[in-house]
Homo-oligomer: 499 residues x 3
């Protein structure tokens, strides 16, 4: 049997996990909002029309931030359409997804619901068709105590205290030609800078995220970030990254190594941000907000041109397999390994639309396979990320050449002393023994081993079999002389919680 | 007597005439709309306030498309001012023509009237002072069936079914420094691209026209088109051309050769469009929309600075001569010769404002001289344009050097087999014999010969003598052995319909 | 005792003083408007809520123009907020000064008040967050007689006749990164050009001021002006200059020589404007509008970040010393010396905010030290500015090297023949004898000598001692054989009115 090894020593750290690494994303797209989180007629609906069953599953994940309301949607959005008495709200053509937007959920409802589930909103402003004035007014509406036009309107609309939203996206994917109001890097950088400046005047306590590239294959990747950060450096806190991974069935080995791609993107953006910092003689560092990521069967999507006007149509409701869940776990491991610079990450999206949670109108809600590594890492993957210097065998992949079969990271909880190791075995056919050197933390004596794997790696959960795939508890792990070996099943995601 | 010759052979074709080549243009300028097509108190007014006498003359021309509402006017226009109850519509300063705009006619009234006369509207959006949002809202108002804010407003305003306007201009003459919200080529190209993208999302079935140069003498002519098409190529269908010809009395020979200038412009824009196609590796071809052309006594116009605030003032109400009508006929011949790429052309404008139709408030409407070649070619100039390879004598001109005295084209109606030859004799003093070789179409045996000419080439029509100048029927033409010779009077426009 | 000399000869002229050189500035900032010029509950308030005591002091200065409503304020301003019934006007966040703007004073109230004090408004449009449409609508509101939407709204709001505002600023300090909606030179130049064009169409009789640099130390100083004027030359009349002088106590000699700096800026901008004129083959000359200048204890101001939301907070209410007043007099002398090109200048600001007038809510209003040279020069410094070729001793300064101790100019009133000499003695410790050669104007026989100086050069006026510092009348001056010598006290500003 093959072996891989890693060393756990709290003296060697990458950085503290920003809990916002476990964020998610709620876009007005498909059925994420309507019949996703919100469905007034649903048996489980609360007084505000939000589904209790879905909210419960959200609480299980406990995403610290929820990006809202888009996504491509926001680039044509009038936020004012979503406030005030519901019967007066206009129905709009959402040009991003060619859907009908009834505006029954807006910033007030969303923010309150997010807070009820324990999440903070991460609000995006429209820099596609709008600019400074719409952004500053929205921020006045959400964050100003009162006594002004927009803050008094919020009060009149039933929210006496400010929503006090701290995290804001300066538009969405403006580098993409598909975006309503797409911009060149310079056009966007200038608009983002001036919008950021005005927003900081409204509320200097906010954090701002500038749009980076929509994905690594954009022809402007890298140069976009350099130009945008040159124009906005001192006015923003984060630069965004987006990446989706398509489970091409004929090359599963490459798909399992998606984290390699994600890390390359992170490292490239860090390099660009630090380059701009050096050239501009700036003091602070720009951090990374990986605010759209997931597995997405993108090749199954016909594109915006395939869509026709409908209210909350079924869009990209991918049904995830065990393989997909292992990849999601691996992507989160990659993000944790860059916790020193990646401060925010949002799995896209929360419900139905390539979501960890699925729901049926009037029917049940359930956990997809990807829900499990995501929820478990969100709950247990907090603390200091350690440098673990893993060694072990590699496997060949079409896309990336030799890639380690073991993909792992470890998190140290300074208070309790507990260490949690997250590990993926990329070997599709054989288990892998992971040898842990724990001599630097002699207090650790034993641990629980939870894993996600299946005889049928393409197995999925759905309305009929919502629990077909769930994490399994493996034999308890016992440390001896500061060492322990754990067997990771073939094609598996694993969590080993050592105390 | 001098002779010129041409050969008619349906095997040699330039292309099919797009009927939209006979379009016209209704701008909110001077008295084109108010007391032109629209005058509620007029004895002939229909229930909607449109003049019946003018409508009848429009029907005689049968322009397949009518560009609306500008022209320079559109670059400062709020289309929302022209919808809803008339008593609530604001009076605005029209900065283009320094006129007062009462907004009593708007998109609803115009579109319905155009359809009643058998025309399609060719609607322009304001890219001078406005952008994406105003354009997409207008398109939603006119073309979306219902169930959304703007489409329901159209329904509430009395139009339950969509106007379904298919042809749209992305602004007007934005290359002109006189334009409200004038733009550089790059500024315009970017705005046009993003507006086009959003509009296509609202309705993917529309055709879009990007602004080309306002005339050939613009310092940016050519480079403007190249930049604009580089930014918009895949998002637009047509590029516009505008050209007016001033009848300088001291050089009538050059004026009669205006078509040479028009063709140079067409060929230059074709070259530019195909250059951008090659560089961008594009598949489709961009076609030409010659959406403002006419004879215009421009030297008599004092410019915008000469104007002062008035409601529908008398602006550039040129009274056209026989010479002007011959030139108009020649310009249409030039357009037909480029029917492979010129798909749309709009004589500017329809009524009163350098229009083929004139009307007096409370008084009569009549046909100007230019009405006749325009109306006859619109009705009979359809089918396949043939390559006719004319030969014959030339005449010297100040502006263009040697120019053929014969300007001609031929159109073949595949169904009936009829061939119509349009021909201008540019010789001001002598008739010209046109020798037609018809051996390739042996079915043609005879034809009617209609011509416009006069002993006094400066003769005009006006309210007192509305029919001073009309087409004359000349002796019937008889084909013998596939040949026939037709005498074209000095300084004349001719139509020979052979069957 | 040291001597300096100058020659008065009306044959040698610089140019006629444009009275607008003595303009001032009313910004919605701090307490300039509210509790400054406007305070409805004040015992002296007139029927419109404006303070009578302040208005009286304004009338004493008689500033021919009053720039309004900003300054930085205007770059986020919606002018529509300030019209109509006061109870409907929204309270806004003013992002420039992080203050609450109640909009109780707007364009109607301000214009009427300015006219009552004998001043003309110099209105600024918002080119920070807004553009062409907002500007043209405002101009239609203020200047169009009636019969249109905006002009009729003005009439409905109680002003039947147009305000007829002739002087307009195209935005404010758009070169400053602190500005809401800051722009690059090209961005601003383009927007200013298109806004100017539309505004001129609304009212061709207006004069327009384009934004120059916010101060000489801006990294874009010079190149900004060149680019902006290249884009706007034929569409604007003036280019603006702003400069404030900080009374650094440890280097009073340099501070007293501030006029040297002001003149360098004027000369640099003249050079740039004339360079653009030459390159562009333009005919007219662009004049200078020095529309923000004053002494300002800028180092005492914590910056915008130090501010928090409040209604008319106490902002930069500097208390001016005798030294400051002497410098203000010297700066006005510098401006007069460039009367050939500087046609407008605005001391910033009129009341409370670094103002010559101070007022307390519910309390008194008084004249600061700087009020005196400003008011006296405004009243007496009209006519033809003469070239006087002064000679005399110099003093060393840290900032400018050797600087003449005498700073002087002379103004000739062609009607009365009177000559007024304004002179500053920069020597802090010794008087300076000024020898006047008046042989070219034999009619001048005697004069009054008024001076501002004090044993304590740091003496100030305040609520307790509003008249601690006032001008003093010195012994009458008598001309003999066309010559007279006048003793200028140490560190003094002087006015010698010869008849």
């Amino acid at each position: 049997m093959q072996h891989a090894a890693l060393t756990v020593d709290p003296a060697f750290r990458i950085g503290e996990v920003d809990p916002r690494l476990y964020g998610s994303f709620v876009e007005h797209m498909g059925r994420c909002v309507y019949t996703g989180i919100y469905e007034p007629g649903h048996p489980s609906a609360d007084g505000e029309g939000f589904r209790g069953d879905v909210s419960e599953l959200v609480t299980e994940i406990a995403p610290p931030v929820l990006r809202y309301p888009g996504g491509n949607f926001v680039s044509g959005y009038r936020w004012e359409d979503g406030i005030g008495p519901r019967e007066n709200r206009p129905t709009r053509l959402d040009l991003a997804w060619r859907s009908l937007e009834t505006n029954q959920v807006g910033v007030d409802e969303f923010t309150k619901w997010a807070r009820r589930t324990g999440s903070e909103p991460m609000m995006a402003v429209n820099l596609g068709t709008r600019g400074i004035d719409a952004a500053r007014n929205l921020l006045e509406y959400t964050n100003h105590p009162g006594g002004t036009y927009w803050s008094d309107l919020r009060r009149a609309n039933g929210t006496p205290k400010p929503h006090d939203i701290k995290l804001w996206c300066l538009g969405n994917e403006l580098d993409g030609p598909w975006q309503i109001g797409h911009k060149t890097a310079l056009e966007y950088g200038r608009l983002a800078a001036e919008t950021a400046k005005a927003m900081r005047r409204v509320d200097p306590t906010i954090e701002l995220v500038a749009c980076g590239s929509s994905h690594q294959k954009m022809p402007t990747f890298g140069t976009w970030e350099a130009t945008v950060l040159t124009e906005t450096y001192d006015l923003v806190d984060h630069i965004s990254l987006h990446s989706y991974y398509d489970p091409l069935p004929e090359d599963r080995a490459s798909f399992l190594a998606s984290g390699v791609n994600l890390e390359r993107m992170v490292e490239a953006v860090v390099a660009t941000a630090d380059h701009v910092r050096a050239v501009g003689r700036h003091r602070k560092r720009i951090n990374l907000s990986f605010d759209e990521w997931n597995v997405w069967y993108q090749s199954r999507f016909g594109g915006e041109a395939s869509l026709d006007w409908a209210e909350h149509p079924r869009l990209i409701e991918d049904e995830y397999s065990v393989v997909d869940a292992v990849v999601v776990g691996s992507l989160l491991i990659s993000l944790l390994r860059h916790a020193d610079r990646v401060r925010i990450a949002c799995m896209a999206q929360l419900v139905n639309v390539i979501g960890p949670i699925r729901s049926e109108p009037g029917g049940p809600a359930w956990r997809q396979t990807i829900f499990h590594p995501y929820a478990l890492m969100s709950r247990h993957g907090r603390g200091q990320v350690l440098r673990i210097e893993p060694t072990g065998p590699v496997g060949d992949t079409e896309a990336f050449g030799d890639v380690p079969l073991l993909d792992a990271t470890a998190v140290h909880d300074e208070e309790s002393g507990a260490v949690t190791v997250f590990a993926v075995n990329r070997d599709q056919h054989a288990p892998l023994v992971l040898d842990l050197d724990l001599r630097a933390v002699p207090d650790l004596v034993a641990g629980e081993h939870t894993a996600l794997f299946d005889e049928d790696p393409e197995a999925t959960n759905n309305a009929e079999r919502p629990d077909r795939v769930t994490p399994r508890t493996l034999p308890r792990v016992r440390v001896a002389d500061g060492r322990v070996s754990v067997e990771l099943p073939a094609l598996s995601w694993n969590m080993i919680r050592l105390r």
